[in-house]
Symmetry: C2
Subunit: 431 residues, 2 copies
């Protein structure tokens, strides 16, 4: 028996006493945890990997099928379903038409060989919240909109269309599905020529809430139930080119080399040293490297690698970058190489709303759950919504901190907890 | 006027005095330096790159044309030309048929976008030596064989066929030309089904001499004319796999990572530290690296890199390898990664013959040239010939130490010097 069943049982008992009870208080309302799991398993069938998890890449046939499944769930929850011009699925439940809607949701597309929880928990958790409200005959003051953003994994495309950031140039980029984003939007029922109609402006949305798996291992390691997200970190990505001199590995003495890969090795170590050298939760990663010409018997003359820094504080990212550049200069001087930094992408940090953080914390505590304030190291649609409205994010533990993998997993109790926190926070926001 | 012209002029003067002079002493014999340059320029037309140098990859049409050109030069030098079953070009000049021949030569194939000197100087220098002998009416005791080995750059194929190492399996490998080695051998006039007829056994060859550019920058930096090669270094090549754990670069705190690329960086530094930590001319190179999955936003879970060690002393290579393995173990322990070493290729060191080294040194000094004993860090056909006969190698300076590049260059005086040392050493060996 889960908590919700217990509550219904209680109501039934009270009812049978022919009492005139207070109606079930909203704070006692609970989602149907097993039903969320049933839906997660249902959605997992679309793009299921042989080794578990799913490959439901945006704009693929599996993505289309998964979206149809979700539209079905929304209809069961009595939502009024539409696809906006950007291809986002919107499930609306009426409220006072004069109030701007409360939005909540996530995404159901996955990375290739992804898992069954990233995006899915927040999407199906949001639908479950509306289903719970329907079954309890509760109508909120604000209209509610469950949003399933399209192509989150390919660059937050759906939410960036909603806040007007998606450019025409980007529409022509090839997505992982092989289709351009423009073709992809058509494929899932949007209309790329009318993107402006999908756009929302500040004031159009009362607030945005997103439930999501942590994708890191902190909550699990610290045995905390709920993460209250302080913000989505800024992400700065550079391509770093190191020029040395390619030469014969047999005939060039060690002291005559300008080995770009040896310089790169020192750089990778320096990045780690700088990033871990100051207190805080910042991270720095070299994830991609190419050495040219790339033969065992040739000293690398050129290396291209990626440098990525993330933190909630853009000033801190900048400070770390300055230190890393200074280290690169030192390495270059000592090794006869040359470093060049090219900025590829910058996502500025997006802070969550202080009041919503407080409501999430209160909701969790009332549910008997422990909480921890933390940044989101991963990007989320919430960061784009933060340009339009106050946002809040609720994290639940990821077992082993594993994500973007068939081994991604979150426990059923944590999923139900997260959805209950979402429900309670929504009700508090509506009040 | 170069030295040879001077000598001829001297002889002419003496002749005109109607004296009965001693015939021109063999030690005064000099090659025609400008003629070698003319032939180098002639050969450079076949596969000429727009930016200089040549792409005359073995078994390509340009290789075939270059070989025809060289056969023409051999015929001008009155050599009896044949193609052995392995596709090596042999230009023979008779001597005492009871004596095993003296072999000397090199190769004319190049790497893609290679230069005009690697292999070419030794090949055309050898032909020039025989031309000089012809013009001076000198017949050696030993038969002479100028050998142009085929496909040196693709794995010493011609010389490995001559010493019986080339396997049937290798014949089916695809060469850089796109043809299999078997097809390539047919294409250049050999007969892969009769490879055994190209094989020579110990005793079949009196000695092998090879003139070659250094391909490193030592002779030029130290202003030495001639390198007396002590041997061709052994080359050991391993592929090293480092297993960490791939994870999300945003959500995985720095202290929870098992970053295979960070471990690889420490390893690359350790290789350099170990190799430069003991006196000697050993070299160690990491030339190739691949990080998986290789995305800017994913912590690398796996790295595969190449490790190559070279030295004249196989025991020293082994000692360095032991130290590198110990360093890898330390890094693995500290970083939560796992290192695996897979031996890909081993070329054992090939020492040159002590007496031939002495004769090269004497010849150079008699020509007024400075010498330096040095290892060959690059592989050469001479290393295979060392299994059959005593070998000697003569190096001339490479400007800037650049090789396998259109920028490869050796000065004309150094080329003439090298050919004269080859000529004099050959005559001493024959005596």
């Amino acid at each position: 028996m889960n908590r919700r069943d217990f509550n219904f049982a209680l109501v039934g008992t009270i009812g049978s006493l022919a009492f005139d009870p207070h109606p079930l208080s909203q704070s006692q309302l609970r989602v149907n945890g097993p039903r969320i799991l049933e839906h997660i398993n249902g959605l997992a069938e679309f793009g299921k990997n042989p080794q578990g998890g799913a490959s439901r890449v945006a704009y693929s046939e599996f993505d289309r099928q998964g979206r149809e499944y979700v539209v079905g769930l929304m209809r069961e929850a009595k939502l009024d379903v539409s696809i906006d011009a950007a291809g986002n699925i919107i499930g609306r439940r009426a409220g006072n038409a004069k109030l701007a809607p409360l939005l909540f949701g996530s995404h159901i597309d996955t990375v290739p060989e992804g898992g069954n929880y990233d995006g899915v928990v927040g999407s199906l958790g949001a639908i479950e919240v509306t289903q719970t409200l329907v079954e309890s005959n509760i109508t909120t003051r604000h209209p509610l909109e469950v949003v399933i953003f399209q192509n989150e994994e390919g660059g937050l495309i759906g939410s960036r269309a909603m806040d007007g950031e998606l450019t025409d140039k980007e529409l022509n980029l090839i997505s992982r599905s092989g289709k351009t984003i423009r073709e992809g939007i058509k494929f899932i029922g949007g209309d790329p020529e009318k993107l402006l109609t999908a756009r929302r402006k500040p004031g159009d949305v009362t607030a945005y809430l997103e439930l999501h798996i942590e994708q890191g291992g902190i909550l699990e390691a610290e045995k905390v139930d709920i993460g209250v997200v302080e913000g989505i970190v800024g992400i700065n990505w550079w391509d770093v080119t190191i020029e040395g001199f390619a030469n014969h590995a047999g005939t060039t003495p060690m002291n005559k080399r300008q080995d770009a890969l040896l310089a790169a090795a020192k750089f990778i170590e320096a990045v780690n040293r700088v990033v871990t050298g100051v207190p805080g939760r910042q991270v720095g990663t070299v994830g991609r490297i190419q050495a040219l010409p790339g033969a065992p018997n040739v000293i690398p003359g050129k290396v291209i690698l990626s440098l990525e820094l993330r933190d909630l504080d853009a000033a801190k990212i900048n400070m770390l970058y300055q230190q890393i550049q200074a280290e690169a200069e030192r390495i270059a001087k000592a090794s006869g190489t040359k470093f060049d930094f090219k900025e590829i992408n910058v996502n500025i940090p997006a802070l969550t709303d202080a009041r919503i953080k407080q409501l999430i914390g209160e909701s969790a505590r009332e549910l008997g759950l422990t909480t921890k304030q933390m940044p989101s190291g991963a990007g989320h649609d919430a960061q784009d919504m933060a340009r339009l409205a106050p946002v809040g994010m609720i994290f639940i533990p990821s077992v082993g901190g594993i994500s973007h993998s068939p081994r991604e997993f979150s426990r059923s109790q944590d999923i139900a907890n997260g959805a209950n926190v979402l429900l309670q926070t929504l009700l508090k926001l509506d009040a």
